[in-house]
């Protein structure tokens, strides 16, 4: 397998790749948002920082079997099957936050994506809970019952 630098990869791939979706903004000519549907893109935005294709280190969080999974790209150079490491996120919310922070921040693995990862995990967690039917009880205020 050939090692191509991230910048070069991004230059080749930024204008056309199968994951890119363009959405019109305020007018047809201005404000086009470029989204990206690849797996390891935390904010689904097509940009160099968030790209899961054009980087040796990328982070993804997805829902799997009712719980969340954290994906990180490994240093494996050629193999595509062992290229991504999976870390299941089954524990309660606070514990998972620790796991995510430990895998990213403390390992110096894409520290710039830590907040995005936590945000994505919150969204995935909530989605899983809603799918299971867990409803948050809204407390009734005093005097309104």
């Amino acid at each position: 397998m050939v090692q191509v630098s991230n910048q070069l990869l991004w230059e080749v791939v930024k204008n056309n790749n199968c994951f890119m979706k363009k959405v019109n903004g305020r007018s047809r000519r201005s404000g086009t948002m470029r989204f990206s549907v690849e797996k390891n893109n935390l904010r689904s935005i097509s940009s160099y920082k968030h790209s899961g294709i054009a980087s040796t280190q990328a982070v993804g969080i997805a829902s799997k079997n009712d719980s969340a999974v954290l994906y990180t790209k490994t240093a494996s150079k050629c193999a595509t099957t062992t290229a991504i490491a999976e870390i299941p996120l089954n524990k309660p919310f606070a514990k998972v936050v620790q796991t995510v922070e430990k895998t990213l921040s403390d390992n110096y693995y894409r520290r710039d994506l830590k907040n995005d990862a936590l945000a994505k995990f919150s969204a995935v967690y909530q989605a899983n809970r809603r799918a299971k039917g867990v409803k948050k009880v809204v407390p009734v205020k005093k005097g309104r019952a």
């Binding site: 397998m1 050939v2 630098s5 991230n6 070069l8 990869l9 791939v13 056309n16 050629c78 099957t81």
Partner: protein
């Protein structure tokens, strides 16, 4: 480059059996601009000429009636006894007239491309097919493929049956791509559907062999799969649509042949203008960091400007004596008021 990375060779059942050194072509510079240019021109080379008949619209003996007859001056068909007589002829605006700028067969249909450019493009496309990110970005489903570039044992070339071919692809993880192509078969939008181009299909893997001992016949009926001999690599197959990163399946013999085709005795491999294109590493390297000036620290955020007439503290900054003067003034006023009362 002395230490050449090594490619794993997989048996037809999917186990890693041998290794072979990476051919030098796979390290050619990746140039999407050259590939796009060569592709757009090469794509024009299998066109067939079309044109209207040379005589179309001109086989009339019509002449203008001139002025004074309360009709437009367009040439009109002469004679009588038929509805055609008196009708306009010859102009592009006339019914049955010749078209504007009749298409000619001697239009330049094919394009000449410099041989060096063609070779550069093929080398670049080959290099791109060895980068998993580019293959995935092009849209191939290669998540289950153990390694890219995918090299299979040379016995691949003696496959005889398509069912065997399908099993080989399945064991190697390449069937996802074939299934994607199969699922994408649609009737073409547009007139092409009645011009013998009825269906469109995604492109699947490209199987590259050294000698055809049955591969071509075995694999060709699988949807999306294309075949190519190493010695005749086609840019239109390596970079369909001008986009690099086709998923290629090599036979070991084909990969080893690449080193003779592209090498010191064969075609020249283009050299990159930057040997190390990793900007992040360059910028963070010791050689560069040691000669840079320290980073500028711009913590200061400009505050909103305050009006010195209204805001005493702003006035203080401009006139240090202002506070003291005001204090003295208030004291003097109080003293005056006290004196009066």
């Amino acid at each position: 480059m002395t230490a050449r990375p090594v490619l794993s060779v997989f048996s037809l059942t999917g186990e890693k059996t041998a290794t072979t050194p990476l051919p030098a072509v796979f390290e050619a510079p990746i140039r999407p601009d050259i590939v796009q240019f060569v592709h757009t021109n090469m794509n024009k080379n299998n066109r067939q000429a079309y044109a209207v008949s040379m005589k179309a619209g001109k086989q009339v003996s019509a002449s203008s009636w001139g002025t004074g007859r309360a009709v437009a001056r367009i040439p009109r068909v002469g004679g009588g006894g038929t509805s055609r007589s008196g009708q306009g002829a010859f102009g592009n605006m006339c019914r049955g007239g010749r078209m504007f700028a009749p298409t000619k067969t001697w239009r330049k249909w094919n394009r000449k491309i410099n041989t060096t450019q063609k070779r550069y493009a093929v080398a670049s496309a080959l290099a791109a097919s060895a980068v998993p990110a580019l293959v995935m970005a092009r849209g191939h489903k290669v998540d289950e493929v153990p390694e890219i570039p995918l090299v299979l044992d040379t016995s691949l070339e003696s496959t005889k049956k398509t069912s065997a071919a399908k099993d080989i692809l399945a064991s190697v993880g390449a069937l996802d791509d074939v299934e994607k192509a199969a699922a994408s078969k649609q009737v073409r939008a547009g007139k092409g559907k009645m011009r013998n181009r009825r269906y469109t299909l995604r492109r699947g893997p490209l199987v590259i062999y050294n000698e055809n001992d049955g591969v071509a016949q075995a694999f060709r009926n699988l949807p999306g799969v294309e075949l190519c001999c190493v010695s005749r690599l086609n840019l239109l197959q390596l970079a369909p649509g001008g986009h690099m990163g086709r998923f290629c399946i090599w036979s070991q013999a084909a990969v080893e042949a690449l080193d003779t085709i592209y090498g010191p005795e064969g075609k020249r491999i283009p050299s990159a203008s930057m040997t190390n294109a990793d900007l992040a590493r360059l910028i963070n390297s010791d050689e560069i960091q040691s000669v840079l000036k320290p980073a500028m620290c711009n913590d200061k955020k400009p505050l909103r400007k305050k009006n010195a007439i209204k805001n005493i503290k702003a006035l203080e900054k401009l006139d240090p004596y202002a506070a003291a003067a005001r204090l003295a003034e208030t004291r003097a006023m109080e003293a005056r008021a006290g004196k009066k009362s």
